[in-house]
Amino acid sequence: MVGAMSANTSAAVSFSGVARHYGPVKAVDGVDLQIAPGEFFAMLGPSGSGKTTCLRLMAGFEQPTGGSISIFGEAMEGVPAYRRPVNTVFQDYALFPHMNVLANVCYGLTIRGMARAEREELGREALALVKLAGMEDRRPAQLSGGQRQRVALARALVVRPKVLLLDEPLGALDLKLREEMQGELKGLHRTLGLTFVFVTHDQGEALSMADRVAVFNEGKIVQVGSPEDVYERPRTRFVADFVGSSNVIEPATTAAWIGTAKAASLRPEKIAIVNGAAPADAIVVEGTISEVLYHGAVKRIELDTTTGHLVAAVASASAGEAGPGSKVRLAFPRTALHLMDSA
């Protein structure tokens, strides 16, 4: 577990007041960020929230219109992409279609003027690392999406970047493959000890893989913290809603329940359906089921209550057979209510 950085010089990537405006559009607007060496850092947010622009600013494909960026203590102002100690795994993989897999992987080494035998050995090694040994002579067009992704990864890793930037690398893969790659990326991160910066709009991916998560909205970072922090203690309504689904309880209701008039987040899995007596300090709400969605291990039950719409995630085994229209009683402990900043 890596803690927050104190000084800029010890950070792998440091943003201070970074902005990227396109005319009136503020794609990135005043972002401060410290990524520790060796950290697996996720930038999470909906599309257009500025997370990808931040990654592109790190890579050097874009220049900030304000603020400053440094990588391992070195100011990046005016430093072009080809002089930065970072490498990117692109969302569309960006493999060179006119080169075979080995030539793609060795591209960075070729540019560095490495002798053919030496670079091909490193290239093969990198391909073995991503489990693609034997595919050296294939063309990118002959590979599946998952294989292309691995080639892109090998190509970026073979040049030993100080920071590896991943732009939604798993976005185009199907669910099964995505889960497999999540595990492999995590494993690679552990073995290589590099700093990984990962952009995703998939909160599950960010929570399961990252050491720390930055949640972006409208060009700004709304919250940075460990996955647990962000999930259990969302600072704003937006974070509560975007990171996992959450019930946002209005200040009027929290005032009635616990005497504090502040918006609160209530995670669906904290809510239980009670048939008999509820635990002593629990808050009990009555409601009518409007929809039941079966997710295998859990059922998501949507309810209309006197205090508004609520979603409960209940273990399928204990959810019973109650369907739409049934009246049920819900209970959750007071501590499950997490008070948020008003925003």
Partner: protein
């Protein structure tokens, strides 16, 4: 009416839907109908006349009566290697090669700008600027150039007024490519060809460059390649099919043209002119046919070489 209650009737059955049913069910018949008109045109009229031409080139002409002798012979082809005829081929191929090379050099930056930087109105302006010359008559353009290039023309007049006639004199004094004036020199001929065929080079190169994803260029830079290196190892190889396509247009258009050399350039003949003369005034159809086969052969050889060097690998 509500969505839950209403039953929506399927679309009415008509003759067109019935025809569609037949065509959807019989895919082969559909393809046959689709290809019939172009195959009739391409197969019979177009390729047919090409083969008739090819056949003609294997006949010869009786030198005394001027009648075509319809017995297969290679004698007409042998005539191509007579010094005067062979010089025409070499001259034409050289002019075409130079025009192709120059048009690549001139077209590439324009195409690159249009493909990678021009957006919105600039892009529309680009297309208009490139295509507008094609809307006006070819002859008008060639004669306009003759006036520009003539001894008393705009170029000479301008240079005289800025006291730079010595530049023009120096250029015209060059051996082979020079001459008494720009309009009667190879330089003038090449300039006119370059002007006429430039759109045919710009458009395919621009289309090829446009298909190069921006992420590939970024990826190359990301891996440490400076812009020059990225250009050589990513952009150029991926644009090569477009350059080759443009080169085919420019080279073959120049090889076959017979009007420009009549109006601009020295008195030495170009291949197209020879074909024109042989099939017309000279009445030697077999030799004209043999001459017209030469560009076909040259293009075939060039394309084979281009394929060997991997110019089409990115297709």
């Amino acid at each position: 009416m509500s969505l839950t209650a209403a039953e929506i009737a399927p679309p009415r059955d008509g003759l067109r839907r019935r025809i569609s049913d037949v065509l959807v069910a019989r895919h082969g018949f559909y393809l046959f109908l689709l290809l019939l008109p172009p195959l009739l045109w391409l197969g019979v009229v177009y390729l047919g006349s090409l083969f008739a031409l090819l056949a003609e080139s294997f006949f010869s002409i009786d030198d005394f009566s001027g009648v075509v002798v319809r017995t297969p012979t290679l004698a007409t082809y042998a005539q191509l290697f007579q010094p005067a005829n062979f010089a025409v081929i070499v001259r034409t191929a050289s002019v075409a090669a130079i025009v192709t090379l120059l048009s690549t050099i001139v077209a590439f930056p324009i195409a690159y700008y249009a493909a990678r930087y021009a957006r919105g109105r600039m892009k529309a302006a680009f297309y208009v600027a490139i295509l507008m010359p094609l809307w006006s008559s070819y002859l008008v353009k060639v004669y306009a150039w003759k006036l520009l290039l003539a001894k008393e023309g705009v170029i000479g007049w301008t240079l005289e007024h800025i006291h730079a006639t010595w530049i023009l004199d120096g250029v015209l004094a060059l051996p082979t490519v020079g001459g008494p004036s720009l309009s009667t020199s190879y330089i003038g001929m090449v300039v006119v060809f370059l002007y006429l065929w430039l759109p045919y080079m710009i458009l395919p190169v621009q289309a090829a460059l446009e298909r190069v994803p921006a992420s590939l260029i970024e990826a190359s830079g990301d891996l440490g390649a400076n812009p020059g290196h990225t250009f050589r190892s990513v952009i150029l190889p991926l644009a090569a099919p477009g350059v080759v396509a443009g080169a085919i247009f420019v080279f073959s258009l120049t090889l076959g043209d017979y009007i420009v050399p009549q109006i601009v350039g020295p008195s030495s003949l170009i291949l197209g002119q020879v074909v024109y003369i042989q099939q017309g005034t000279a009445g030697n159809i077999p030799l004209a046919a043999a001459f017209s086969v030469v560009p076909v052969i040259i293009m075939g050889v060039l394309l084979t070489i281009a394929k060997r060097t991997g110019a089409f690998d990115a297709l």
